[in-house]
């Protein structure tokens, strides 16, 4: 029988990219795809709290470890707080360190994530983005990521399983870059992407490893010939300066990501740029979205364009740092912008809306929409309703899409 790889490669060849080589495709969930990237990266240390609300990413990675396909150490700790603490120590000691979590688990990591960013520990965290309790809910939205919004970590959002793999593979190169050296949260929508199987093209192991390169910690914690202090106290005479330096490092991540994305495109033929402009040529009404809803929105944009409507989509992959200048330029021709959030900021504007509205201040009318909280479906109906509402007068409040559409499908 022909090898699976050869057969799948022939399938992928039908729409192979112009540059980059044809890769074999496998049927993987988003979680398995992220674990495949971790297998290829083969991190030195993976500290995890492996029970609810963990992702299947760790289950898949543990299998790779048990069956000898990776060679690092998985450290089972007693909480996500400890997982992130162990990750900080191991990254600063000079070990490439990755972990995964979701929902309350990320919430419990956040305290130490601030420290990881301040200590400039380049830890890659795979996140199955899910709601926060309460009420208790295990389903997909962006609430957990938004709790970590101001931690100082890089934040990326995948549209599908392919991007979950691509972003995960690119993340170490970004966060370990000497100009950056920060943790990164690589998000994929919980269940909608993490538990859905789709065709995913993987790089060859050797080329993936060559792309990621070795981990180098210049200021290693355990270098006895060059002793250093990490995590020192900072009084009012130093804290401000350190925080501003840290914030500038995160700002620099945008340029480094552009270089990383360009290199990855040459290698894979796939785009992981900070934003994706989808049919923005001549688009008056534009939707801004992150994660899996962007894929559904592409279908709706095509449908409305076929009817002659002037709609487009701007998909955000890189949420921190927020690519402000790029977004302002891409939306310069828009007449109305709708921003779709999958998280709330009770008493204020939702997080993505707040960013876009501040970026476009005065340039164009921006309307806030909220959908998909706690795993509520975001279907074409919601996107159609969004574009229909964008033609209207606009409001001073968020529009909730799919509210009252409860019950299982």
């Amino acid at each position: 029988m022909a090898s699976d790889g050869a057969r799948s490669a022939a399938v992928a060849g039908a729409d192979a990219p112009a540059e980059g080589r044809v890769a074999a495709r496998r049927l993987l969930t988003g979680a398995q795809a992220a674990a495949e990237a971790m297998r290829q990266i083969d991190p030195d240390v993976v500290p995890v709290y492996p029970i609810t609300p963990q992702t299947p990413i760790i289950e898949a990675f543990a299998r790779h470890l048990a069956e000898g396909r990776v060679h690092g150490e998985m450290v089972h700790v007693e909480s996500e707080h400890s997982a992130m603490s162990a990750a900080v120590g191991s990254a600063l000691a000079g070990a490439r360190t990755m972990t995964a979590t979701a929902s309350q688990g990320l919430a419990y990591m956040v305290e130490v994530l601030y420290l990881a960013a301040s200590l400039r520990a380049p830890i890659v965290v795979a996140v199955g983005n899910r709601a926060l309790s309460g009420p208790i809910n295990i389903h997909g939205d962006h609430s957990d990521a938004m709790l970590a919004r101001d931690s100082g970590a890089v934040q990326l959002f995948a549209e599908n399983a392919q991007e979950a793999y691509d972003l995960m593979l690119c993340a170490p190169r970004l966060c370990e870059h000497p100009e950056v050296r920060l943790p990164a949260l690589v998000g994929q929508d919980g269940f909608t992407i993490s538990h859905s199987a789709e065709p995913v093209a993987l790089l060859e192991d050797a080329e993936a490893q060559a792309f990621v390169g070795p981990y180098r910690e210049e200021d290693a914690l355990l270098d006895v010939d060059r002793p250093l202090t990490h995590g020192a106290f900072a009084m009012p005479d130093a804290y401000f300066e350190i925080k501003v330096e840290q914030a500038k490092a995160l700002e620099r991540a945008e340029g480094v990501w552009a270089e990383t994305a360009a290199a990855y495109r040459r290698l894979s033929g796939r785009d992981v740029a900070a934003v994706e402009a989808y049919r923005l040529e001549g688009a008056g009404r534009v939707l801004v979205a992150m994660g899996s809803a962007a894929g559904t929105a592409k279908d709706v944009v095509d449908e409305l364009r076929a009817r002659g409507e002037d709609v487009g989509l701007l998909k955000i992959r890189l949420f921190r740092p927020f690519p402000r200048a790029r977004i302002a330029a891409l939306l310069s021709g828009a007449t109305a912008v709708g921003v779709l959030d999958r998280a709330l900021s009770p008493g204020g504007w939702p997080p993505l809306y707040a960013e876009v509205a501040a970026t476009l201040a005065g340039q164009v009318r921006v309307q806030s929409f909220v959908a998909g909280l706690g795993g509520r479906d975001v279907g074409p109906e919601e996107i159609h309703a969004l574009f229909a509402a964008l033609g209207g007068a606009g409001g001073q409040e968020s529009v909730y899409l799919g509210l009252g559409r409860g019950g299982w499908r």
Partner: protein, 191 residues
């Protein structure tokens, strides 16, 4: 775009069935999605799984609400779950049951095509422990987008590392039997 909804009970392999079908379709050159209902997984509790397949890349990531085919792995779900919900008048209801077509219609109210197959019995006859390979076989033949050899190769890819050679062969024989059963019948199909 072809959309499938699977109804089973936790532990009966509806999710595995959806993944086997998707793998076979992908091997046959289609773009695919397979996903379970995002509920808590409890053995014996009703659960659903879904498939999408298309010639073009599938970008939407919402639930399947208007399936082309609904497959029921356990006929005790017929009066308990809305197995025909969203299934149009041309949609096929494929049921693992020893009941007749009329009994299934009465229980579900479905007016379109109904296919009743004793997949448990057919699976057992080939040494398979579950009905799902039989149903995937029948479904693949019905949809007409996957040659039998790709389905058998997909079974090998999915289960090769997990099942004994004997169990894999039994599942493949069960899938082939389901495929042959459905090939001899043609329900109205607009796909």
């Amino acid at each position: 775009m072809v959309e499938i909804r699977w109804h089973g009970r936790g532990g009966q392999g509806a999710k595995t069935a959806s993944q086997l079908l998707a793998l076979a379709q992908m091997r046959a050159g289609l773009e695919v999605q397979a996903f379970p209902e995002y509920g808590p997984e409890r053995t014996g509790a009703p659960m659903r799984a879904y498939n999408r397949a298309d010639r073009r890349p599938i970008r939407r990531h919402d639930g399947v609400t208007r399936p082309d085919v609904a497959v029921v792995l356990d006929d005790s779900l017929l009066g308990e779950e809305a197995v025909a919900a969203g299934l149009g008048p041309g949609g096929l209801l494929l049921v693992n049951t020893r009941l007749g077509e009329e009994a299934v219609r009465r229980a579900t109210g479905h007016t379109g095509p109904v296919a009743c197959l004793d997949a448990d019995g057919m699976g057992r006859a080939h040494g398979a422990r579950y009905a799902n390979p039989v149903l995937v076989g029948a479904l693949a033949a019905h949809l007409g987008d996957v040659p039998l050899e790709e389905l058998l190769a997909a079974a090998s890819e999915l289960w090769g590392g997990r099942l004994s050679g004997q169990a894999l062969a039994a599942n493949q024989a069960a899938a082939a039997a389901g495929f042959a059963w459905a090939e001899g019948r043609r329900w109205a199909w607009a796909g």
